[in-house]
């Protein structure tokens, strides 16, 4: 009797988890851009390094390392294959949805683990632009404060939704937003719809 007939994730996730592609193993790797996001105190951390083909403006190589769960490992492995040879600006636009579909979907509660890879990739691309004297191309992910009392940004709200918040009450519990004056409730409800559509529709 095998207990592994049903793996908790899809077979593609399992394949990337068991044989992760493009793991950075070379300590002397000469990257053109480097991005690191998350931190181990929060439970996951991701490093992505890229080499760029300056002739074509494409990603010539993408390697990564992570302190993360199976979803983080598999999604970054899949992403590293996806962006190989891709024009930089296109790679910049890769999001969790494309990665998840390349993996044949992830459980909803694991989507948040898969966003680290593309976040780190964007950081690496920005780093490449900075190193090569093209700071005008750096695209900052601006965050906006939604709850002024508790100082909670739209990014934090998006993170909370990725981590499982589905209602205004759950957003309050996770972020402490709208627990003082309550004026941002309508904005929170709107953002909840926007981010649910972005990540889970």
């Amino acid at each position: 009797m095998s207990t592994h007939q049903s793996w908790a994730y899809s077979e593609k996730v399992k394949d990337h988890f068991v044989n992760p592609r493009n793991v950075l193993k070379d300590d002397e790797y000469k990257e053109d851009g480097r991005g690191i996001v998350g931190n181990i105190q929060c439970g996951d951390e991701m490093l992505v390094v890229i080499k760029v083909d300056p002739e074509n403006g494409t990603i010539a190589d993408c390697k990564w390392k992570t302190y993360g769960c199976a979803s983080a490992i598999a999604s970054t492995s899949a992403m590293s294959e996806l962006v190989m040879g891709m024009p930089i600006d296109e790679a910049f636009g890769i999001g969790p949805k494309q990665i998840a579909s390349a993996l044949g979907q992830l459980p909803d509660n694991k989507i948040h683990c898969s966003v680290l890879g593309d976040k780190a990739l964007r950081a690496a691309i920005n780093d490449y632009y900075t190193r090569t004297g093209q700071p005008e191309k750096v695209i900052k992910e601006e965050s906006r404060i939604i709850c002024k009392c508790m100082n909670v940004t739209d990014h934090e709200i998006e993170e909370a939704i990725l981590e499982g918040a589905r209602t205004f009450l759950e957003l309050q519990e996770k972020t402490k937003m709208s627990t003082a004056c309550g004026k941002c409730k309508d904005d929170a409800e709107t953002l909840l719809k926007v981010y649910m559509k972005k990540h889970f529709s």
Partner: protein
């Protein structure tokens, strides 16, 4: 070739003891309602009462002090809910003692119930623990007030296995005028328990942690202490827990307890030897590891270990691919990134809490199992560390 299967998650649940399976199979056809006066009912009643005697004598209690419940969680909820009872209909002696003391490392069924009661007007004190997971007796003493109704401290912790000093705790609680409850779901059937000797007022146990069936547990309620049921509406269990008795489950629990009384002592020695070999083998083969919990006052089969730079869920799943079942209290498995509340309470650094797994041994494990784990584990940890941003080989 069949892959070897090594089950090291006995604190989560256990396989049925073969003799429990036999007893259950033999009893399966007994369908009478234990409350019925006719022969069918009397047969079922006889089985239920035999099981009750087994449980009672195993913990040094009287049969009438044992109530069968649907789970450990139900038993724990029942005890805490007594405090919240505000009903004029209820016979429980309401004395407005609305303060509960419990610990930061309890099972969620205590912590969540406590939180819920806070919303209903109770006041709850959560005692911290030292680095080995023991509560501080001085802190307990200082927390007791005349309003303290019940103190609930788990006998042994599910994640790290730390065993509390129950006798001393019960003495302090009683000196402070409160009742003492202990969640003994993990300790029951692993270490000897005598409720009179230890001074326990309420004690919760569960069948499926001791090679019995799921969906049945027992609650010890010392004779004469204040009680009010969680589930109303029937005379079953002397009016203390309504609902037709789960005869088959209760029989399974009774049998499992009988087997524990015969096998527990010897098995604890054997399992302790397996854990020692596992622990020493890990230390020999894998650098940068930490063991969590108490060095001596710990359940024989529980081993909680942190591997620097390796995340819990990925360890669990790579081990699963080799047929080895462990658990992680941490993070991502549950979809939340929160590290184990137990490890955090012991002051383990958060990155070490994220990188921990729990291996819990049981009666079916052998030295071959330990050898197999020691063969597979170093390679897995090495692989994870090779792709980890959080590990630098020293």
């Amino acid at each position: 070739m069949e892959q070897r299967q090594v089950y090291l998650d006995n604190n989560a649940t256990t396989p049925l003891h073969p003799e429990v399976v036999r007893t259950l199979t033999e009893t399966m056809a007994c369908f009478g309602n234990p409350s019925s006066m006719h022969g069918f009912g009397r047969e079922a009643r006889g089985l239920v009462e035999e099981a009750r005697s087994n449980v009672a004598s195993f913990i040094g209690a009287l049969p009438e002090e044992v109530i069968f419940v649907g789970s450990g969680s139900e038993g724990n909820n029942t005890v805490l809910s007594i405090l919240a009872c505000q009903s004029g209909q209820c016979s429980c002696d309401r004395d407005h003692k609305i303060h509960i003391i419990t610990t930061a490392i309890e099972h969620p069924c205590i912590l969540e119930t406590s939180k819920c009661l806070e919303g209903h007007g109770s006041r709850v004190t959560y005692l911290g623990v030292d680095k080995h997971g023991k509560i501080r007796l001085d802190e307990l003493r200082a927390s007791l007030t005349p309003q303290t109704g019940v103190v609930s401290v788990m006998m042994a912790n599910n994640e790290i296995g730390t065993i509390q000093d129950i006798r001393e705790i019960a003495q302090i609680v009683h000196a402070g005028g409160a009742l003492f409850h202990t969640d003994a779901v993990q300790a029951f059937g692993k270490i000897p328990i005598n409720v009179v000797d230890l001074g326990i007022d309420f004690l919760t146990v569960s069948a499926h942690k001791i090679y019995g069936p799921k969906g049945v547990g027992a609650l010890y309620v010392r004779r004469g202490v204040r009680f009010c049921p969680l589930i109303h509406g029937g005379h079953q269990e002397r009016g203390r827990r309504a609902g037709t008795e789960n005869t088959l489950g209760i029989v399974g629990l009774g049998k499992a307890v009988e087997l524990r009384s015969r096998e527990m002592a010897e098995e604890a020695i054997r399992i302790a030897a397996l854990k020692k070999a596992l622990k020493e083998g890990i230390v020999e083969r894998i650098p940068d590891v930490w063991f969590n919990g108490h060095p001596t006052d710990c359940l024989a089969g529980t081993l909680n270990v942190s591997f620097e730079g390796a995340e819990g869920e990925s360890m669990l799943l790579y081990l699963d691919l080799e047929g080895i079942a462990v658990s992680t209290g941490s993070a991502c498995a549950s979809g939340s990134l929160d590290p184990s509340h137990v490890l955090m309470a012991t002051g383990v650094p958060v990155e070490r809490a994220h990188g921990s797994i729990r291996m819990s041994l049981g009666r079916e494990n052998t030295m071959e199992d330990v050898d197999y784990v020691l063969d597979k584990l170093p390679g897995i940890i090495n692989r994870i560390r090779e792709m980890s941003t959080a590990y630098t080989r020293r």
